[in-house]
Symmetry: D2
Subunit: 346 residues, 4 copies
Amino acid sequence: MIRAGIIGATGYAGNELVRILLGHKDVEIGWVSSRSYTGQDYAGIYQNFYQIVDLPCRGEELSALAEEVDVIFTATPQGYLASLVSEEILSKVKIVDLSADFRIKDAGRYEEWYGIEHKTPQFLGEAVYGLCEVNREKIKEARLIANPGCYPTCSVLSIAPLLKKGIIDPASIIIDAKSGTSGAGRGAKTDNLFCEVNESVKAYGVAVHRHTPEIEDQLGYIAGKPVMLNFTPHLIPMNRGILVTAYASVARETSDEEIRAAYEECYDNEQFVRVLKDGICPQTRWVEGSNYVDVNVKLDKRTGRVIMMGALDNLVKGAAGQAVQNMNLLFGLSEAEGLRQPPMFP
Amino acid sequence: MIRAGIIGATGYAGNELVRILLGHKDVEIGWVSSRSYTGQDYAGIYQNFYQIVDLPCRGEELSALAEEVDVIFTATPQGYLASLVSEEILSKVKIVDLSADFRIKDAGRYEEWYGIEHKTPQFLGEAVYGLCEVNREKIKEARLIANPGCYPTCSVLSIAPLLKKGIIDPASIIIDAKSGTSGAGRGAKTDNLFCEVNESVKAYGVAVHRHTPEIEDQLGYIAGKPVMLNFTPHLIPMNRGILVTAYASVARETSDEEIRAAYEECYDNEQFVRVLKDGICPQTRWVEGSNYVDVNVKLDKRTGRVIMMGALDNLVKGAAGQAVQNMNLLFGLSEAEGLRQPPMFP
Amino acid sequence: MIRAGIIGATGYAGNELVRILLGHKDVEIGWVSSRSYTGQDYAGIYQNFYQIVDLPCRGEELSALAEEVDVIFTATPQGYLASLVSEEILSKVKIVDLSADFRIKDAGRYEEWYGIEHKTPQFLGEAVYGLCEVNREKIKEARLIANPGCYPTCSVLSIAPLLKKGIIDPASIIIDAKSGTSGAGRGAKTDNLFCEVNESVKAYGVAVHRHTPEIEDQLGYIAGKPVMLNFTPHLIPMNRGILVTAYASVARETSDEEIRAAYEECYDNEQFVRVLKDGICPQTRWVEGSNYVDVNVKLDKRTGRVIMMGALDNLVKGAAGQAVQNMNLLFGLSEAEGLRQPPMFP
Amino acid sequence: MIRAGIIGATGYAGNELVRILLGHKDVEIGWVSSRSYTGQDYAGIYQNFYQIVDLPCRGEELSALAEEVDVIFTATPQGYLASLVSEEILSKVKIVDLSADFRIKDAGRYEEWYGIEHKTPQFLGEAVYGLCEVNREKIKEARLIANPGCYPTCSVLSIAPLLKKGIIDPASIIIDAKSGTSGAGRGAKTDNLFCEVNESVKAYGVAVHRHTPEIEDQLGYIAGKPVMLNFTPHLIPMNRGILVTAYASVARETSDEEIRAAYEECYDNEQFVRVLKDGICPQTRWVEGSNYVDVNVKLDKRTGRVIMMGALDNLVKGAAGQAVQNMNLLFGLSEAEGLRQPPMFP
């Protein structure tokens, strides 16, 4: 039995981690911790776990907690893990970090976009970007996983097949993304009140959203050269789900068949990425509660562009589910263990 | 391996049955059938099952289908099963009926409230009302289960403890219930369009809703005498969930402690009924996606009434989940098999 | 031109007051004030008024503000107005108070339910409860209006006709109410975040909600004797709207015709109360954005109870609209001035 | 008093026309007509107008109806008006057509995108595209107005200022649009049921949506040369509102100041187009229920692209409000008559 601990367990991603781990046959949750609710009963905060989870919220003392478990999930604010991680800790415990601290290899670039000094750049080289479909083998050997952001996961998986094949021009990529409100976290902010979000849609973080460099880096590795793109996230009045609609110009003559083949080649052996049938657009409702990403693509011959689409559940494949997928790889388990729940509808 | 078939698989309850049975270690789905979509690919209708379920929708020929499976779930319109069930069929296959056909023991009463002639009243005596917490032992021996309605499940479980103890006056019961829109089914009706339901709340079926006699019958069995009550359902702009707020006058002097003890006595050994802590009101969000029913009660000494509250997911404990719970009992499996998923939030 | 000021203008009711007054031909808004946003541009907080309203938020100095306008609307927390109002202020300006400070005539009862000392009980006698359909003549002569609560407005108007006629037993009244989330205010609380409210329904304030004594008092005046009842509010995932479903036992033999006649007699001359046709249930969507209250009733002969239903927009007839209706009466204007917008759907 | 008739009055745009015209001081509604509800009481279908509108739904006999009013609004399916309009009718009555029949000047292009033969191409030349901010003077002289589509209104107004100034490359335009569900109409389709739309987001009509040629034509007139672009609409779980996020590459060196100046020059004298302050993104909630369009723009110097954003209420500025704005121009009234309601929030 693998013992797991969760720091930041009272955020939405933390809640989802607990839900998924409860259904994982090889894991038991050793402890949960929370800065805001230290000392309180976890199931009193998240009543879905009433009579199911019997754990108090502990404080966020990483070193102490590291003694007690085999893997720690950090669902913490930016900068938390980077300020505390050490060789000693990593020698005792594997860490799957759901924050952005170790996603961007260049500390300067991290600091520029996040506005925080990176305290432990020495671990940036070692950390593995936990997009399983791309970095599977490296993940298996890692100690520290940078679990990808929700938007980057959806964006990269939607765009990668055509970029890898050189079918699209990397300089032409535009990503227009839509996210449910759980992505904004559980902080008590006026902007996230029901009456402010309901019956509205807006763009935010236009041209400055922090997931931009993460997406650019990952697509850049695939393209084999730096990628610069536009990424615009939107807030949607729903709880869960991310939809990415990405645009790019074709770099050379191509066909529907070639494009479709590129996706199939990429994902035919991936159990969590579903290439939808021709003409079927991804919808977030078909992946809710599951670790699936649905993708599809449309070539617009009129304009010479492709429209690449992807949908996932931001709390599962976009956060907790992918974190567990990473954990499975880290510990040599079946990659899908604990993640086989089909999507729930409606 | 138990082989299961689902008639009416393209309704919301059918979809949920498929989802739950996919996670059940002792069951495989032999076939699904649907009047409206006969011949079509099931996963083409419900894309959540894309690449997960590979079954066509078959027609609704009960006799033929009965040859191929061990248990049939009928998530069909009222009157379907009652018009087709026979001794021959029941000798071959167990049936869990999610319609109302066999819930009301008195055929005349059924016909009065449902406006349909009951074609096979000879099976009314044999059919067992599948409220597991109440009829567990009888269910184990049955061939034909009348799976309870969503509102009756929530209402009966919320009220039973005090009625059983004689603490409330059966003549004073008023049930005000609120349901998510999946309870209205998947039929293409103007009234159920997004823009008609969203940003609105209404009562419907006032004083004539068909779940009234079902609730009255079940509470009558508990009270040991006929019960007549008011039941008012309301449509809520959400997908899933039922909340029952029930009122009754106390029949004799009582106390908070006695009332709480009545609930605990009833449900302490029930794994799917959670008596919430004192002062915590049930909320549908805390049970979504799960087979749990959360209940609680408040004694208002000022008015001499109790307010009894219950929350469940209408598609799980109110339909498909309870159907699987019944199936588990029918086949001697662990009652919770396939139903251990914790609620999903948000 | 009547000059109006609004204290607490940055709450949802304040926003709605501004919207309504902008369409009122006899009123100009002299100032708006807000404790939290003092000094900020009002249209910067509520962008709906961008390029429409050009006012800064002033502080909440009641005495100073009273010099500048003819009428003040106080959309303030409980206790604010009661702690500041004085003979001097009332000699200069009329006040329509949207808080509960002057709704309950008995200061002790106010203090018991609100847990706040009432600082100016000497004005309780003078204040008029601003339910126009009930107290129209008194309102015309008043200086200080206690604008009714949202739930009480809907409850009292739904129940009054039968109570007045002695058709129902006052001791048997149970009110089950459902409210959109704007009723919870704009405070940044976790419980009111989108993801906490969406896809859920719950009761709250069970047996202790502060609108209970207000409803009891008003129904008591109509009944001619004290009324004690149960009132249970519920939070619904929608922005606006209140639906009341009220139950009572008939006190004597009656008929559908007599019951209907009671409603028509009460409301035939009321332009903002619509008695729906027989069999049509009120729905909040049909009154959204308007000052209408839709009511209807159903006699359940089986149980000897009536189900009384009412729907209104909590921010209009339940707050700002009724406040303007009161202002119109105070200043001798047409009662409907500024309030003739039909409901907006969808 | 101008007498108005509405054909297709039982759709959502028809309902909104009635709402707006009820508040218009110079108009009375002569009749409403509806194919589906002929003979029924209009206020029985749309209960928001109960006791406000007292009109039956008449049939759709355009010629007969034309005798009785001064202006007809046709909120009808594609092809209806084009199959019936005639010189005789236009000699008697002005027509504001909310369908697409006369929006595209080239009948062949209409037929290609709409798949319907255009029966009266002889009126295409005369018809004026009713985007008031662009074609104001021509509208004043017209008999037949092609009221713009919801997406085109929002798209064109968002993009026009930079295109007009030659700041952006017309070949690089990509429009990603998001719409509330009322845009899908009131037809009883499974895809538009509450449970199908709620908690989901999807693209639809990718690369083939019928508003594409309309947007291209209008932007082409502004650019002075043909424009070909990508337009992708998305369905959002909300009732009303369209948000456009449009991308284009800058065609030459430019600056934040120049870009902002382009918008201000275009819209400073437009009362229904609000250029938001620098850094403020349009949100549909701030325009709901009003005829406003909120626009803003962001220059991303990193990528050399601009992100142009616009928000409107699809039923007001995107349909009925703009139709009334056109009617005002047609009859020499103040352009804003009946349209001065500020946005309603929340």
